[in-house]
Subunit: 204 residues, 2 copies
C-alpha cells in the first residue's frame, strides 16, 4: 500500500516526457537543416536513433507531431514578443515589437513558415493551436490600446487595427520567404509599411 519511491506510472510519464522532448528536438533539427520536405517520419526516427513506431506511440500521427512543432513555434514567437521591454512611448514600443518579430522570422524562418501554413499542404493545426497562435498577438493589441489611450494614436477598433498591422507584416514577410524580396528590401518595406500604418492610425 505504500507509495513506491519511484512510481511506475510516474517514471513512465517522465520517460515519455523526455522522449517527447527528444523527438521534438530531433524533428526541429531535421527541419532547420533540411527543410519541410525532408521532415518525414523515417527521417525523424533515424535522427532519434529509433524506429518510426516510437513517434507513433508519442504522437497520434504526423499531424500530431507537426502540431507539436507548431505549438513550439507559437511559444517561441510569444517569448520573443514578451521579451521586448515596454517603452514609455507607446509608438516606440510598437516599433520595437515589429522589429523583434522581424528579427525572429529572419533568425528562425521555419517558425514563420509553419505558423503561416507555408509548410505542409495537408496539415491543419488543431483548433487550440490556432487559438494559441492568435492569442499570442494580444500583445500587439494591448500595445495598440496603450497608444490610443495615451493619445499617440486616434481611437480605432482594436481588432481591425491589430489585424491590419499583423497582416501587413506577415504579408511582406511572406514575400521574403517566397523569394520575392531580399532581406534588405524586406527591412525597407516593413519599416515603410509600419510607419505608414501608424501615420494612418494617428488620424480619425
Amino acid at each position: 500500500m505504500n507509495e513506491p519511491i519511484t512510481n511506475y506510472r510516474e517514471t513512465r510519464a517522465k520517460t515519455r516526457e523526455a522522449l517527447h522532448r527528444g523527438v521534438l528536438d530531433a524533428a526541429s533539427r531535421v527541419l532547420v537543416r533540411e527543410g519541410y520536405t525532408a521532415l518525414t517520419m523515417r527521417r525523424v526516427a533515424d535522427e532519434v536513433g529509433a524506429s518510426t513506431k516510437v513517434i507513433y506511440t508519442l504522437f497520434e500521427n504526423k499531424d500530431g507531431l507537426v502540431n507539436a512543432l507548431y505549438l513550439e513555434a507559437v511559444r517561441r514567437v510569444r517569448e520573443t514578443l514578451e521579451a521586448v521591454p515596454v517603452d514609455a512611448q507607446a509608438l516606440d514600443y510598437l516599433r520595437a515589437l515589429a522589429q523583434a518579430y522581424r528579427a525572429h522570422v529572419a533568425a528562425q524562418p521555419n517558425d514563420f513558415i509553419i505558423l503561416n501554413g507555408l509548410s505542409l499542404p495537408d496539415f491543419t493545426p488543431s483548433e487550440t493551436a490556432v487559438q494559441e497562435n492568435v492569442a499570442s498577438f494580444d500583445i500587439v493589441a494591448v500595445a495598440l490600446k496603450r497608444a490610443m489611450d495615451a493619445g499617440e494614436l486616434a481611437q480605432h477598433p482594436l481588432e481591425s487595427a491589430g489585424k491590419a498591422l499583423i497582416g501587413c507584416l506577415n504579408g511582406i514577410l511572406s514575400m521574403e520567404i517566397g523569394g520575392h524580396n531580399t532581406p534588405e528590401q524586406t527591412d525597407v518595406y516593413l519599416a515603410f509599411a509600419l510607419e505608414t500604418l501608424l501615420r494612418g492610425l494617428q488620424h480619425a
Copy 2:
C-alpha cells in the same frame, strides 16, 4: 516539295496544344473540387481519361504541371485587375482594384493559394513565372503613381508603397484562407487596412 495542306508537325502541334488545354482544365477541375492534396498525377490522368504518361509527355513533371497552373492563376488575376475601369478619382480606382482583387480571391481561392505558396511545399514556381506574377501588380504601382501625381497622395517611393499595399492585402487574405477569419471579418479588416494605409500615404 510542295508544302502539304496540313503539315505533320503543325497538326501535331495543334493536337498537343489541345491536349495541353485539356490536361490543364482537368487539373483545374480536380483542384477546385478536391483541393491541392488530391492533385496527383494519377488523379489528373483519370480526369483526362488517360494514363499518367500523357501528362509526362506534355509537361516535364509535376512541377511543370503545377507551374502551368500557376501561370494560369497569374493570368486570371491580371485579367481581373485589368478589367477594373479607371476611375477619375485615383483613390477610388485604388479602392476598386483592392475590391476586385478581394472578390477574385473569394471566388477563386485556389488562385491565391498557389500564388502565395500555400499549396505544395516542394513546389517552387519558375523564375519567369514569379516575374509574371510580380509584374501583374504593376497595375497597382501605376495607380499609386497616378494618385501621387494628382496630389491625392503625398509623394512616396513607389516600390515601398506598392509592397506595403499588396503585402497588407495578402496578409489579411492569408488569415482568411488559413481559417482565422470569416469572410465578413476579412471584408472589414481589408477595408480598414486599406483606408488606414491610404490615410498614411496622404501625409509625407
